[in-house]
């Protein structure tokens, strides 16, 4: 396999406006739906008075909890089957009409009566009622190794702080949307989801129908970042019920304001972290996380999990607790767990380095974990030390103190931190069809959120068969295709790779045998291990002989060849080695001495995540992740009104995200790894950029103004006042 910066497969469609997103499917007779929201944060829906709504122009149907009684009970139907209200803005009914404006008008004519109960609208109102989950994702929530209390007692230095991170929202540019209809007993569902097969399975369960009668399509997705998953399903079901009631196609699209409440969020955390050191080495870590979850479903990021294994340390204790509030439900978001967790751990490491009189980089190198100390397994591969070295060189880390600390009104600071993310795979099937003209069709029922899955799928198959990308068609985002992985957890490329490789290996074997079996052909009598595939030719390695793929096919398989490949999910209990991608992030920031404004000026990051298939697209993933991390560090926070439980400022005017004017210079280094434990040495890369950088920025702010800021986002108000030493430095 060769790394090659093929242009993005679907780029031409996207720059010409021809990529058809699922919400743009426009069947005849389409109805438009809107959701009616609860005006309270906690209580009960008492009644829905829809006497007047049907008289409004264009009104088509109303869907309420009564209609949901026909659905099977499951986690995905709880909110639409039970009339309890758990958060402000929770939908209580859906109205469909001929146009969206008419749907809004009819919805305003529906009278909702609710009975309110006292709501918990902030985490700090219910800290005493925190619960301890068993698991955080696939990890145990609480772990302990060694003797933490003794080690902290005997430590030469203890860094003990509380770190807090705010709620963030994903905000893909495309809001969640569904266009759905029924064809007799069959349902067709065009929707922006990161998981078409899970969506199909959940529809099958809720509507009690066979999966083969459901087709889910998501061929283009306008971003996702973790929010286009399960929280969308109840409202999608209501759209499907509206379609079933009316016999007409129905379209439901969330408003930007609903993207704050209905589709998930990065949970708020309060993290108590203590590090103990002796001789500059970590002797103890305690990391105790309290985080927000909703009143109706428990969810926890794996926030403290990475403190168990990032550094060598004999005594480690970690816990996670959850506080149930009447706020929206959290879900994974860009670098779930690692983003908030490394903010605490890496901020504390920077503080420790200062107290120990060590360079923060040297302290990390000194505490490098040469194996996974939590499981005792070796790393499948680990080039973190190379990331430190290469990143530091390219950034000029060693010389940073010689650089001037002022640039006009800007006070300059430097910081660095580590990032990591597990390399795991899902089960996957893929089909590769080689046509008689040696063009290729690659099919896999996964999705492309924008991460480059079209390109990766095509490229893996094209490279294996020596066919140019121009002759490759990629089909994904349709449950009529072989089952593919959901788009999350940086797993898609690693998951599709072995499945596509398996399919192309079968095709290569067939083609080699076809070419060799023709005694009069140029490759007659050659053995398959002598044959290579490149430039649309089958070539003998031992001689000059070659034959065009299209000639071999014309002679022996004019209708082409098809093969399916299959690959298994990571089998965690049986793993011989822990797979992990790593990175080191170095930043230069400036703080406006008078105004307190913080600007990231320069980011240099070195990442090691197996073999990179397409450096052009990989760089885009890394940079995009880093920008997401800058948003979490400096911009993004979702606040709840304590009195009403309403989310404050549900718009891009109030929820700040990084824009063009916020962009620093990026320098990305990609360190290639051979990994004997992972197929093709492929590790996921999507999450790596979005962790680590938050702590690097916080450390750089400290370097600039001498103030440790232990909460995110770091805003202007944190960088003003007497504690901020901007003038003298």
């Amino acid at each position: 396999m060769n790394a090659h910066s093929h242009a993005r497969y679907e780029a031409l469609l996207k720059v010409t406006g021809q990529a058809r997103f699922e919400g743009e499917i426009a069947p005849a007779g389409l109805l438009h739906a809107t959701l009616i929201e609860a005006p309270i944060a906690c209580g009960e829906l008492v009644s829905v008075d829809a006497v007047e709504a049907p008289t409004r122009p264009g009104f088509a149907t109303l869907v309420t909890h009564d209609d949901s009684a026909s659905l099977k009970s499951s986690a995905a139907t709880t909110l639409i089957r039970e009339t309890a209200i758990h958060f402000h803005g929770q939908p209580v009914a859906l109205v469909a009409a001929s146009t969206l404006a008419e749907a809004h008008d009819a919805a305003r004519a529906v009278r909702i009566a609710t009975a309110a109960r006292p709501a918990v609208t902030q985490m700090d109102q219910a800290l005493g009622a925190a619960i301890a989950p068993e698991m955080v994702g696939r990890f145990p929530a609480a772990t302990r190794r060694g003797d933490v209390a003794t080690a902290l007692g005997e430590a030469e230095l203890v860094i003990r702080n509380r770190y807090s991170t705010q709620v963030n929202n994903h905000h893909p540019m495309e809001p969640h949307v569904v266009v759905c209809w029924w064809e007799g007993p069959k349902a067709v569902v065009h929707t922006s989801t990161q998981a078409i097969f899970a969506t199909r399975a959940t529809i099958a369960q809720a509507f009690d129908m066979p999966p083969r009668n459901i087709r889910v399509l998501a061929r283009f997705l306008g971003g996702g970042f973790g929010c286009k998953g399960q929280l969308w399903w109840p409202w999608m079901f209501w759209a499907m019920l509206a379609s079933r009631k009316t016999g007409r196609p129905v379209r439901l699209e969330l408003s930007r304001a609903q993207m704050f409440t209905l589709v998930g969020r990065r949970q708020q955390t309060e993290q108590d972290l203590a590090l103990g050191f002796a001789n500059g080495r970590l002797t103890a870590i305690t990391h105790d996380v309290v985080a927000q979850t909703s009143a109706h479903t428990d969810y926890s990021d794996s926030t403290a999990v990475y403190s168990r294994l990032l550094y060598a340390c004999p005594n480690v204790s970690t816990t996670h607790r959850l506080v149930r509030t009447n706020e929206p439900q959290p879900v994974p978001m860009r670098a779930p767990g690692t983003a908030p967790g490394t903010f605490a751990l890496e901020s504390a490491m920077d503080e420790a380095a200062e107290r120990l009189g060590l360079d923060p980089l040297d302290l990390r190198v000194k505490n490098f974990a040469d194996h996974d100390q939590e499981t005792g397994r070796p790393w499948s591969s680990n080039s973190l030390l190379s990331c430190y070295r290469v990143g530091a060189e390219r950034f000029g880390w060693a010389d940073r103190q010689k650089r001037k600390k002022r640039d006009g009104r800007w006070t300059i600071g430097f910081g660095m931190a580590t990032t990591l993310y597990p390399a795991i795979r899902q089960a996957c099937r893929a089909r590769v069809r080689l046509n008689g003209d040696a063009s290729l069709v690659v099919q896999c029922g996964t999705q492309d959120m924008g991460s480059g899955t079209y390109t990766a799928l095509g490229q893996i198959a094209a490279d294996a068969l020596g066919i140019p990308m121009a002759k490759v068609t990629v089909e994904l985002g349709d449950t009529w295709l072989p089952d593919g992985p959901f788009s999350g957890g940086s797993q898609v490329t690693a998951s599709i790779f072995p499945a596509v490789q398996s399919a192309t290996a079968q095709l290569r074997a067939m083609l080699a045998s076809m070419a060799a079996s023709d005694a009069n052909g140029p490759l007659g009598g050659k053995t398959s291990d002598d044959l290579d595939f490149e430039g649309e030719l089958i070539r003998s390695r031992s001689s000059n002989a070659a034959e065009r793929l299209s000639d071999v096919l014309a002679r022996t398989a004019p209708d082409g060849l098809v093969a399916e490949g299959e690959s298994a999910a990571t089998d965690h209990p049986k793993l011989a080695a822990t797979g992990m991608g790593h990175g080191a992030v170095f930043v230069e920031i400036g703080v406006d001495s008078a105004l307190g404004e913080i600007r990231v000026r320069r980011v240099c990051a070195a990442f090691a995540a197996g073999r990179i298939l397409n450096p052009l697209l990989a760089r885009s993933q890394y940079v995009g992740g880093l920008i997401g991390g800058i948003g979490m560090a400096l911009h993004e926070q979702t606040l709840t009104d304590r009195a009403t439980g309403c989310i404050l400022g549900k718009s891009f005017a109030d929820y700040l995200i990084p824009v063009h004017a916020d962009m620093p210079e990026f320098d990305i280094a990609m360190i290639e790894e051979d990994d004997p434990h992972l197929p093709g040495s492929v590790k996921g890369i999507g999450m790596l950029g979005s962790a680590g950088i938050q702590a690097a920025i916080a450390s750089a702010v400290h370097d600039a103004i001498g103030k440790r800021i232990r909460h995110l986002p770091i805003r202007i108000e944190d960088c003003l006042g007497p504690a901020c030493d901007t003038a003298q430095r």
Partner: protein
């Protein structure tokens, strides 16, 4: 919970008011009837089916719906369609085709200036209008493009593509 609904309904056959509008979009003349409250985005995307123009927030906050009116950038979700009678509008479909790409579209592909593609139409239209304003520096491009949000994080490549076409 109780739901009160009439046993059957007949939406009153009140014909909503419509007004006539003339638009030239991508050199094509449209004579249409629109709702008085329709936005230019509603008309372009839903009524005329030119779905290259995207709705990201419907509040003028993201720039995904950017179109050109007489060469100037307009967030079409904040533009009342009725006030654009006789306007000359360019959407992404009118910028270039697969066979004849606008230089900025070609630069977007070369620089990989997109991921999910949902903000791309707005970025390109905004970039084309910015180019006509002769930006003098990378900083001016960044400032001039800051009304167009991107969530995937393609910003540096977007600015690089515009800078290349601007000769910077």
């Amino acid at each position: 919970m109780t739901v009160t609904q009439p046993p059957s309904h007949d939406a009153r056959e009140r014909t909503p008011p419509r007004i006539a509008l003339s638009l030239t979009i991508n050199a094509m003349r449209y004579e249409i009837e629109i709702s008085p409250s329709a936005t230019l985005l509603d008309v372009i995307r839903d009524q005329l089916g030119l779905t290259g123009t995207k709705k990201g927030c419907d509040m003028g906050g993201c720039g995904a719906c950017t179109v050109l009116v007489a060469g100037r950038r307009v967030v079409s979700c904040l533009a009342l369609a009725a006030s654009f009678d006789d306007a000359v509008v360019t959407t992404i479909e009118g910028v270039g085709t697969a066979d004849h790409l606008h230089p900025l579209q070609a630069a977007f592909i070369r620089h990989d200036a997109l991921q999910c593609g949902y903000c791309t139409s707005g970025q390109i239209l905004s970039g084309i209008a910015l180019l006509s304003e002769n930006p003098g520096s990378i900083a001016e491009i960044r400032e001039g493009m800051s009304g167009n949000l991107c969530r995937c994080g393609a910003h540096p490549s977007i600015v690089a593509a515009i800078a290349e076409v601007a000769g910077l």
